[in-house]
């Protein structure tokens, strides 16, 4: 009898939610979990949870070895993030505006334990819109360069998205994404960017800052449910779960989260994020938070569609190609996210153009 492919009882999801269940996985299930850990960039998180088990040494040899291998990779990843932040800090020391680390570089700077197993080494920074040209120029003078994009893509990035095209460091080959807001300006949701800067917190020994705990959490929340692609996004839910576990211990965090959510107008995405985190990952959410978010709950039909589509679409693929069902679910969600980002007329043009461009590229 084979295990469920998606939902809370899928071996990968169960292992993330209740690490003790790893001790009872069958060999085929273990291979699936390792494979999905690989495709879904979740091996590091799994390794971290396995290390917490008293009987880690009793796990199958290949499992232990793969976890040890990925621990080398995540340790390396953390070092790369710290070094990149160091170099960016040095380069932007005198640029005269706040520079806020986002996502992985921020989690690393704050040493958040539940996010130590993340695997992503690009650095994202947030700077005020009026300083973006100065920041870009300063970074270029200090050894970063623009990647060559087509005029169309460059236009897409600058006008319709919320970032300049990524800059690459000439010496190290690493990327930095410079943002002036956290969501595309053409999208429906409009975050309060001034609030983000106002509440940002300095990092000791550095000129850089990070978002406050509530804003950091909401940033990941809106990326979970308002981004370009949804294939294998279990790792975003895992990030939200991690942040809630680490921050949830702090005094007043949930209150701050509610206030921030109201200030930015992120009630619906937050509802979805907490809903699926609880369902799949067992994240603990206080009752008063559900009460506060009740008015952002989607209508029953929309919720039913999401309940069906999300658990299937967020699953990372295993060795063999995704089943037709997963592919359909991913297409549904992809269409939805593009819709949220851009006005309908622009959307049609953009999708058509992207399809044409993709076909032109060599096989």
């Amino acid at each position: 009898m084979s295990s469920p492919r998606h939902g809370p009882q899928a071996p990968m999801v169960a292992a993330l939610r209740e690490p003790a269940r790893m001790m009872a996985l069958s060999a085929p299930d273990w291979e699936d979990v390792i494979a999905q850990g690989l495709t879904g960039a979740l091996q590091g998180v799994l390794a971290g949870k396995a290390r917490g088990l008293a009987e880690f040494e009793a796990l199958p040899r290949a499992v232990r070895h793969q976890f040890e291998a990925v621990e080398a990779v995540t340790a390396y990843n953390r070092r790369v993030l710290a070094w990149e932040a160091n170099r960016i800090d040095l380069a932007l020391r005198d640029v005269g505006c706040p520079v806020v680390l986002l996502k992985g570089a921020a989690y690393n700077a704050r040493r958040l334990p539940s996010l130590a197993g993340r695997l992503a080494s690009d650095v994202d920074i947030l700077v005020p819109k009026e300083h973006i040209a100065a920041v870009e120029a300063t970074l270029k003078a200090a050894g970063w360069r623009s990647m060559p994009y087509s005029d169309y893509d460059e236009h897409y990035y600058r006008e319709w998205m919320h970032e300049i095209p990524p800059l690459q460091n000439i010496d190290r080959g690493t990327y930095v994404d410079v943002h002036h807001t956290i969501l595309p300006e053409t999208g429906r949701l409009k975050p309060d960017v001034d609030r983000l800067f106002r509440e940002a917190e300095p990092i000791e020994g550095s000129n850089l800052l990070t978002l406050c705990d509530a804003d950091m959490t909401l940033h990941t929340v809106v990326h979970c449910f308002q981004d370009g692609e949804f294939a294998g996004r279990l790792r975003d839910l895992v990030d939200v779960d991690g942040l809630l576990r680490d921050f949830g211990q702090r005094d007043g965090f949930w209150q701050r989260l509610m206030e921030a959510s109201d200030a930015h107008g992120f009630g619906r995405p937050l509802y979805y994020a907490l809903h699926f985190c609880r369902r799949l990952l067992g994240t603990g959410v206080p009752a008063e938070v559900w009460a506060h978010l009740e008015r952002h709950k989607p209508n029953p039909l929309a919720l039913a569609v999401m309940n069906h589509a999300v658990p299937r679409a967020v699953m990372p693929s295993r060795m063999f190609p995704a089943t037709a069902q997963v592919r359909l679910a991913q297409t549904l969600l992809l269409a939805r996210s593009h819709w949220l980002k851009m006005p309908p007329l622009l959307l049609l043009r953009h999708l058509t153009r992207k399809a044409v461009v993709r076909r032109k590229k060599p096989a």
């Binding site: 390396y76 070092r79 790369v80 710290a82 070094w83 160091n86 170099r87 040095l90 050894g143 010496d171 020994g205």
Partner: protein, 93 residues
């Protein structure tokens, strides 16, 4: 005047033999081969913040007058390389 230093967060691991060295920068993760001259320069800067003039004087003293031509320029170039690699930073006064 710029002074160069090896910052606190920059733990360097060394292997020095027969006038050559390999240094590992634990912050960047990179390893570098250093000839005798650069080895001495980096060790000198590691001890305390130094200006280019400090370094020139120190090395000249070790060479007993056998300075190469354009030594100051050479030192400047090497400092630039070391800074680019993140082995040294300009220090805040």
């Amino acid at each position: 005047m710029i002074r160069w230093c090896v910052p606190q967060d920059r733990e360097l691991l060394w292997y020095e033999r027969e006038g050559e060295a390999v240094v590992f920068n634990s912050a960047s993760g990179r390893s570098h081969y250093l000839n005798a001259l650069i080895n001495e320069m980096l060790r000198y800067i590691e001890e305390a913040p130094r200006s280019a003039a400090d370094i020139h004087g120190h090395l000249a003293g070790l060479m007993d007058g056998a300075e190469p031509d354009n030594f100051a320029d050479r030192i400047g170039d090497i400092l630039g390389s070391l800074a680019l690699q993140g082995l040294i930073d300009p220090c805040r006064e």
